[in-house]
């Protein structure tokens, strides 16, 4: 039973509840004005796991981190309402925020982990707005820490962690040293609701705001978005009666 400080990352993502995502008229991105922002579902699972570990007294403190504009503080509050102890808001807004990608976030997390002397970083496996699935892995590489990704079961054993990973072939059991980075997959747990009394109590918990420059991180993007377009409209299919018809049609379309 060893006590550690745990840093749990919470990514606010644009939860596009409406399937009608609109591309901006100038094709530089999607419209985000007024769209509901909420905590990334995989990050909710990560926060839940962190809070569970704290409740089992295996770790000392849960710190929720979010990178983004002022609204990100709402997402941190939800994490605080679920049981995190304090929050760190890394203030990135405007153009910087639009270009913020996994590389920049992992640099920020690595810097914070060193600053906070964290022993464990728990993140969601990927964000549902960009589906990158890179931040956890990059953070581990930058810190030179072991990583346990797609975790569906986590247990601490002394100063090592037993992990079950969901992989294409089935389930993989691994044991990794601490300090480590773990990314949460869907079946790790079912996150608790942030109830109203907890939201009210969370208003009293501390959120500290820092800038990436304070951490020595440069957030300029290495990528340039050239164009964003809607996927092409799905064309109607065609029914054919016989195999011969199919071959004829394929030849006509130049596919054979």
């Amino acid at each position: 039973l060893s006590c550690k400080v745990l840093s749990s990352v919470v990514t606010p993502c644009y939860c596009f509840v409406s399937p009608q995502i609109r591309v901006k008229p100038d094709n530089t991105g999607v419209v985000t004005d007024g769209v509901k922002h909420s905590m990334n579902p995989f990050c909710e699972i990560a926060v839940e796991e962190a809070v569970k570990l704290k409740e089992k007294k295996l770790i000392k403190e849960v710190v929720a981190v979010s990178c983004g504009p002022q609204q990100s503080q709402e997402t941190i509050r939800t994490a605080l309402a679920m049981g995190a102890d304090r929050g760190i808001h890394v203030d990135v807004s405007g153009k910087d925020y639009e270009n913020l990608g996994p590389l920049q976030v992992s640099k920020i997390l690595a810097a914070l982990a060193k600053q906070e002397d964290a022993q464990l970083i728990l993140l969601g496996k990927q964000a549902i707005d960009d589906d990158c699935n890179q931040t956890g892995q990059m953070t581990a590489a930058l810190l030179d820490w072991p990583q346990g990704t797609f975790a569906s079961e986590v247990s601490l054993e002394g100063d090592k962690i037993n992990l079950v990973r969901e992989i294409d072939g089935g389930l993989e059991h691994i044991k990794i040293n601490t300090p480590a980075v773990i990314t949460a997959d869907l079946r790790l747990n079912t996150p608790r609701y942030a109830t109203l009394p907890n939201i009210m109590k969370a208003k009293k918990k501390k959120i500290v705001t820092v800038k990436p420059a304070d951490l020595g991180v440069d957030v300029t993007s290495r990528l340039e978005v050239l164009k964003v377009e809607e996927p092409p409209q799905r064309q109607a299919g065609m029914k054919v009666e016989t195999v011969e018809d199919l071959v004829v049609k394929l030849k006509e379309a130049g596919r054979v």
Binding site: V17, G34, R192, Y193, T195, P197
Partner: protein, 622 residues
């Protein structure tokens, strides 16, 4: 009274009236899996599992579950984060700051963020806003589109009869603004937070709490973590109790808590039943060449017949992009159960006067909401010990103007002004534990709200004549435009909307054209655009008092009108798995919280209750 005997009585009544209907009488002890499986082989499968119909204290699955609730105290609790609730909150805090008093004001709202459940045309009369926040322009209120053109038409199937809007007619919009109400409400929320109001979006008020003396003590938010079959999940958590000296109920049109309060305090004994309409709305990004910012278009007539109240609106917004807000309103006192407000809306868009605006455009949003039309004849008693009703919940809409936001906001402000001195008085002068503030109702009667509503009180009821729409317009022309509503009589409405439906066999089905996918659309793709969603594993919040009535009565006599009046496809009659007969399927996840079913169900069997907070539509600036 145990649920078992309640079912027996109702079922026997059904059986007597409608020949043999076999219904399973559920006895409380048998809510086991076994019994549920047995139920499904009988003609009325169990539909409703909500605890408001099947109480949990008699349910063995809930034995031993911790039901204690955390409670907190505030000075004022406001239910509903719409224009009325927010105006009241803002006014209370303004008064508190001015008089240097501490006041804890908590506002709960079922939408996941303030403005996400707001839907309105809308042409705003800025009078109330200017009274509330005189420097709204400097503060960046989203009133960006002053009305520049006002057009009114009577439509026939192919043509359009222009109607001049003479100054003094209620639908004249000079000085008003076209707004995206969701954005205005969101801005009001920001103003409220700045003043120190505690806003809690994502938490629905599910229950009214009472003191022992019967006065209102506050509200309790919804429980979370109840499974679809009504049993507790591992993550079950009780809602929280918010106690207050006085509670303001601003749930909007046909609120579910207001419905309970009407019964408990007999608030409707001296007024007429409320009458309603359903409003459906879409936002379109149109071709720039067709865009005329500031233009307001209204129409009546086609596709509705002269005896069905309703009409359309089309507003060109001016917020930097060629956006129009358009929609259709149908009075819910329509008589033909085959009428589908959604499909009337879709076919109206094809009219030669409307379609050209939309050609080449793209639909980006859809939603629907009921609105009240009863005017001052239908306003209930507004105050009761411990609480008040504000906004569209009691209903202050000026129907011919089609505006209710300015009166809703003013009612919120008047409520705040009436409560404040009582709250901050040296001694709490009240007979009951919850404060009774009858001054609010008196102040409202003396304000411009009442004068305005009184002047137009006869316009809507004047449509109930043989000439329908045309009779109503003539009445408006003579008595409102010339005589300003000073006639000494007050016309009555026709009774509740639910009672107006004629049996299906007396009516002809309406042939609606198929949607073309460019201007008109099908229901399901429209519902998808509303962004509505609910946690799937929760009891359906469209509860039925009696599960057997839909097939027996609604389908049997009225051919299932809920399949047509629901703008979200929640109700479907599907064949039973056993092959013979139909059952009602409730797709509760589609619900857009419009309340039309609770209003129009001819059997008044549907009781809309609030689902888990945070669920529902995700309107963005509607």
């Amino acid at each position: 009274m145990f649920p078992a005997s309640r079912y027996s009585c109702q079922a026997h009544r059904c059986a007597r009236l409608l020949q043999k209907i076999k219904t399973e009488h559920a006895t409380p002890q048998l809510y086991t899996a076994l019994h549920r499986r047995a139920c499904s082989t009988v003609s009325t499968p169990r539909i409703t599992t909500h605890y408001t119909i099947h109480p949990r204290d008699k349910d063995p699955r809930w034995e031993g579950v911790e039901m204690e609730r955390f409670a907190d105290e505030a000075d004022v609790v406001i239910v509903g984060g719409g224009p009325a609730g927010l105006a009241a909150a803002i006014r209370l805090k303004q008064l508190a700051n001015k008089h240097e008093k501490e006041l804890r004001v908590c506002l709960v709202e079922k939408a996941p963020q303030i403005g996400a459940h707001t839907l309105s045309g809308a042409c705003l009369e800025p009078s109330a806003l200017t009274e509330l926040i005189p420097d709204w322009k400097e503060r960046g209120a989203p009133l960006n589109t002053p009305v520049t053109e006002d057009v009114f038409s009577i439509l026939t199937e192919k043509y359009r009869i222009p109607v001049p809007i003479l100054p003094g007619l209620p639908m004249q919009n000079h000085g008003n603004y076209i707004v995206r109400m969701g954005n205005l409400v969101r801005w009001l929320g920001e103003q409220a937070e700045e003043l120190g109001v505690e806003l809690y979006p994502g938490y629905a008020a599910a229950e009214v709490l009472f003191h022992e003396d019967g006065s209102v003590k506050g509200i309790a938010t919804n429980d979370v973590g109840i499974a679809k079959d009504g049993s507790p999940k591992d993550i079950f958590e009780r809602g929280m109790e918010l106690h207050a000296k006085v509670t303001l109920f601003g749930e909007g049109c046909h609120g579910h808590l207001a419905k309970q309060l009407y019964n408990k305090f007999n608030l409707r004994e001296n007024c007429e039943p409320q009458t309603y309409a359903i409003g459906l709305k879409e936002l379109w990004m149109i071709d720039e060449k067709k865009w005329r910012p500031g233009r307001v278009e209204h129409s009546v007539g086609w596709p509705l017949d002269r005896n069905t109240y309703g009409g359309s609106f089309l507003y060109h917004l001016n917020e930097g992009e060629p956006l129009v807000a358009l929609g259709f309103v149908v009075g819910l006192d329509y008589t033909n159960p085959y009428l589908s407000p959604f499909r009337e809306f879709q076919r109206w868009k094809h009219h030669p006067f409307v379609a050209p605006t939309l050609e080449g455009g793209q639909r980006i949003a859809y939603g629907a909401r009921a609105l009240n039309e009863g005017g001052c004849q239908s306003i209930p008693k507004l105050t009761f010990p411990g609480g008040l009703l504000i906004g569209c919940s009691p209903g202050f809409m000026n129907v011919p103007k089609i505006k209710g936001t300015h009166t809703a906001m003013k009612s919120g402000m008047l409520a705040a002004e009436a409560i404040f001195p009582k709250l901050t008085a040296e001694t709490l002068d009240s007979e009951t534990a919850g404060l009774h503030v009858p001054e609010y109702a008196e102040n409202l009667k003396n304000s411009w709200v009442w004068k305005e509503l009184y002047a137009v009180r006869n316009i809507r009821p004047s449509f109930h004549n043989y000439f329908g729409l045309y009779g109503g317009m003539i009445y408006t022309g003579i008595f409102y435009w010339i005589f300003r509503g000073k006639e000494p009589w007050t016309l009555k409405h026709c009774g509740t909307d639910a009672n107006q439906l004629k049996p299906a066999k007396e009516c002809t089905p309406i042939e609606y054209p198929k949607p073309d996918g460019k201007i008109s659309f099908d229901l399901l793709s429209s519902v998808a655009l509303s962004g509505t969603n609910h946690e799937g594993d929760q009891p359906p919040h469209l509860t039925l008092k009696d599960d057997s009535i839909p097939v027996a009565r609604n389908l049997g006599i009225y051919d299932g009108p809920e399949q047509r009046f629901c703008p979200a496809g929640v109700y479907e009659y599907v064949p039973l798995d056993t092959g013979n007969g139909m059952r009602l399927q409730i797709n509760a996840q589609n619900c857009v919280h419009c309340k039309t079913c609770d209003i129009k169900d001819p059997s008044q069997n549907i009781n809309w209750v609030v689902p888990e907070g945070g669920g529902g539509p995700a309107y963005n600036g509607m």
